[in-house]
Amino acid sequence: MGGRDRHVRPVELILTEDGRPVPSVLAQVQELHRNNGEEPQTLDPHLAEGLPSAHILRDLFEGLTAESPEGRIVPGAAIRWNISRDGKTYTFYLRRDALWSNGDPVTAEDFVYGLRRSASPATASNYAKALLPIANAAEVLSGDLPLDELGVVAMDEYTLQISMRDPTPYFLALLTHPVTYPVHRASVLEHGSAFSRPGNLISNGAYILEDWVLRTRIDLVRNENYWNAENVILEKVSYYPFEDRSTALKQFRAGKLDWTFTVPNNQFKWLRKHYPDELVISPWLGSYYFGFNLQREPFIENPGLRRALALAIDRDLLTEKVAQFGEQPSYTLVPPGIRDYVSPIPEWAEWTQAERNTEAQRLYAEAGYSEDNPLRFEIRYDTGQTNKKMALAVSSLWKQVLGVQATLVTEEFKVFLQNREQKVLTQVFRAGWISDYADAYSFLNLFRTGHGGNDYGYSNSLYDALLNEIAAERIPSRRRRLMFEAERVLLAETPFVPVYTYVTKRMVNPRLKGWQSNVMDHHYSKDMFFLKAVGNETPAVEPEEISAVELEDTVE
């Protein structure tokens, strides 16, 4: 068990010159027990959606690029790459020592096969939209072009060329997503849809699938054929699908889990007091906000009123008393944490809440509302404790500051989504976005005219033109300026009320090291290891493994 002695403090971490832990500080047992929140939908990387699948697939497979513990894009199966001047041709040079778990070499053809399978209409991948920046991907997905027209070519055994529709500066980040992973062609052809079962699944990542007991446990063990296997310290990783947060917490407290998916709501203070070393909270790349339906009264053509509502909520109060887990008050669409991008902060973000309230009341009156003629509307949200509490708190702040009469409407998730999309019933609704890649465009694109996620009915030709410019721009500084401008345009019209930015919150065994908090919340088991507990002086690692500390040059 990874965590029986969880409360025992770890020994001090000592690193070798190349940044690996020295063997003498490592624990005897290197097995990680990780709660994954729910059963993964699939272990077929091309069908994957949702966090549980992605967590496991990142351990099982390796894309062209990968991420360092702090979330930087680093070489994965590709050792290096060239991007053409116009940003539309990527040439990847694959590492020659990469093998599938059965010993077959990982070649450029495997990636061609993988990307074509991902884009194939027959595969019907939910997440194939990540491929859309690739040349002809949209046409292949809709069946208008054959698979071999996809802009992906194996130049030779270890060279892969990908042609792009648009220069896509975040493309290297997209390549860490499972939908772009290679799959082992022979085993897919042999086993069909059962290729992702234990015994059948052949993978190219740091781990292989050992066992999958449906809704009980998924066991991964170290892949001896992984090119960097000698630097993979965790021998075994077990993923559990425990959905109940309290149960998972109890499992953690009983030493059965080293890593929880999240923690129960309302227990922040207790956890911080009793488990200060175990409770880990860090910023996540997501925004929580309330959207306006701009196609329905009273919010059509009424930016002043919308602004009044945005001003009148005390975000410090909401994050501290309602969200409670260190969420940060938000005044923008794009959350902080994206490299090279800082959002335009509206001037009122610098004001005190009293000043904001005064301005809100002025705008409210200007829009024609008063105590005798209060603004009435419905706030829709989907079932869930946090959503309900947040809607309740926001509506009472609106009532307190402006005298708004808001009615709360709870809906089951799929009903809620449908109502939001139809834009007939909704007025104010719970909304939010957690991005799959660290780029501001992912957020900004939601407000494009006609975008599937534009449940606000927002439409601004200037804004759309800016988005088109961003999509075509490949010079980072100019692209950044365009995104800044687009977000400024958007915020000025207040089509939504920013509330807070998400955090991830979980319990982690303090002896587990090698991982770092990052805004994507991507954590690869291959980077992690358990330290010995203080007082446990027995040598942890057998002598022959000590040489494993030497790093290979190819990592550079």
Partner: protein, 309 residues
Amino acid sequence: MARHSLRRLLGLIPTLLMLITVAFFLMRVAPGGPFDSEKVLPPEIEANLNAKYHLDEPLLTQYFRYLGQVATLDFGPSFQYKDWTVNELIAQGLPISLTVGLTAMILAFVLGTLLGIAAALRQNTAVDYSLMGFAMLGISIPNFVIAPILILLLAVYAGWLPAGGWDWSIASMVLPVVTLALPVTAYIARLTRASMIEVLNSNFIRTARAKGLPESTVIRRHALRPALLPVISFLGPAMAGMISGSVVIERIFSIPGLGSYFVQGALNRDYTLVMGVVIFYGVLIIVLNFLVDLIYAWLNPKVRYDEKY
């Protein structure tokens, strides 16, 4: 009796057909679809998905396609658990739900009847009051309250039992079985007590006592059978409920049984999974009620000879 049984079994078919039809169209009437999520799909991808699962066909075509599948006992692939078919999912969850449910049922039946009889025999004494007091508590405290308390005491503090999870060990069964059995035990105890008291006051018991039979013989030979009748008729639905898995218990103890498929399937609009589980439950409930009728007939001669009940 045999003819009656056959007729009951044949009656299963139209009932099931009705069940399938209603469930199928109700699922489709529910707003939203299996592929709706906050991350909206581009239209070409949605079209591919609909084509893959035949959701692009007219509803009636889908309905008859589904009936054809069910006739061959193929419930199709799950929308949510994409690597598995619904048949595989049910086959995985059933043994677990069955084990937990049957164990809990046997425990509840044995314990409940014993306690009920004990209370009836000591009617209006301290024993009766305390037993029935406990039974009332057992019925009225919901198991989502009892379960976390038991976990906290026996798993987190004492460390005797696992806090959740399922590995087919006795240890992992104790808490869920006890939690599941508790309210049913209490209910059976109250039922048994009430009917036992009624039976004990009836004429044929008075006759038996008048013949000078010892009290234990009176209870065992004469009173027990009729006293159990209401309990037996309660067993059918209770059994189906327990075998089909308790959603709450399964969630709290992280048991991979059948119950959570219902809720998860419905929330995710996993049409095939919900349909598969509904049909399976339908058969189960019909069969169990049928078995209960048989036992009832065996216990109660009045029913045995009069088929018109």
